[in-house]
C-alpha cells in the first residue's frame, strides 16, 4: 500500500481528506475531512504506537522488543505524546480560524 501523505509537498501545511471511495460499490464521498490525530503522525510514530498497543502499553516490553533502555523508549513515547498535543493544538487553532472566517463572511 502506498504511504499516506499528511503534509502538503508544496507549502508544508497539513493535508485534509477531500474524497473517500467505497471499493465495494464505487460510491464516492466528497467533502473536507480532518485526518485523525494518529493518522497525521509520521509513519515511524504510527508504527511505534502500534507496537506499544500490541505489548499492552508496557514500556518494559517495548524496551525488550526494540533492544533499547526503558528511559529511551519512554522518551520516544513522550515525543509522540508531544507531537499529538501539537497536532491537536494546531487543529484547534485552525478550527477556530475557520469559525471566525465563517462568522465574518455571514456578517
Amino acid at each position: 500500500m502506498r504511504k499516506l501523505p499528511t503534509i502538503c509537498p508544496s507549502c508544508n501545511s497539513r493535508l485534509k481528506v477531500k474524497r473517500l471511495l467505497c471499493e465495494n460499490c464505487g460510491t464516492e464521498l466528497e467533502g473536507v475531512y480532518e485526518l485523525p490525530a494518529l493518522a497525521s503522525l509520521p509513519a515511524a510514530d504510527q508504527e511505534f504506537v502500534l507496537q506499544f498497543v500490541k505489548v499492552s502499553g508496557s514500556l518494559k516490553e517495548m524496551a525488550k522488543l526494540l533492544g533499547l533502555s526503558y528511559p529511551t523508549v519512554r522518551n520516544r513515547l513522550d515525543d509522540v505524546i508531544n507531537r499529538i498535543n501539537e497536532l491537536e493544538k494546531n487543529r484547534n487553532n485552525s478550527t477556530r480560524k475557520e469559525e471566525q472566517n465563517e462568522s465574518g463572511n455571514s456578517d
Partner: protein
Amino acid sequence: MNQEIAIDKGAGKLQLGQWMFNPFQFIAGGKALFMGVVFILVTSILGSISNTHFDGVLDVHSGLAAPAWFFVAEGLIDWLSLAVVLALFGLLLRQLSFRMIDIFGTQALARWPHIITAIVALTPGYQRYSVYIANKVLKTGPAVTIYDTDILFFALGIIVLLCMAIWMVVLMYKAYSVSCNLKGAKAIFSFIAGLIIAEILSKLGIWWLFTTYVKPT
C-alpha cells in the same frame, strides 16, 4: 515493518560509537545501577592501592595515604552529589515524571572511565612521579628516586586522565539527558550548573570526611 522501527532494532546491536558515548540508550535502571556501583568500588580499590583520590566529581589527585574505606566513600560521594543535584534539576525542569533509578543508575555507570584513570595511576612511572611531586609540594614523606622516563609516563598519564575526564563528562551529560528526557539549551545549561554545584558539594563532603575521620585538624 516500518523503516524507523527496523533502524531502532538495529540500534540494539553493538554500535561502537553509541556504546562509547551514549550507552544509556541500551542500559539504564537497575542494571546500570549495579554495573555503575561495581565500577565505582573497583575504581576506589584501585585508587587505594596507588593512593589516587577521586576527591570531587571531576577531580583526580595522587599522594595522600588514607584507609581504603575513605577511597570508597570518595567515589560514592562524587556519584551521589551529581546524581542528587541532577535529579532535583530534572524534577524542576521536566514536565513528565522520570524514574529516579534511571538517573542514579546512569550517573553511576557514567563514572566508568575513571577505572582506566585508576589503572593508569597504577603504572610505576606515573606513581613514582606523582608521589615525588606530592612529597615536594606537601614537604612530607621520604625522598623518592625518580627515573628519566617517569616524567614521560606521568605526562602520558595526564593526557589519558584528561581524555577520560572529558569522556566521563560526555557520558554524565548523556545520562542526564536520557534519564530526564531533556534536550537543547535547557539540558546543557542545567547540566553545567548541576556539575558546578555537585563539584562544590562533593569537595565539601570529602573535605569534611577527611578532616573528621581521617586526618583530624
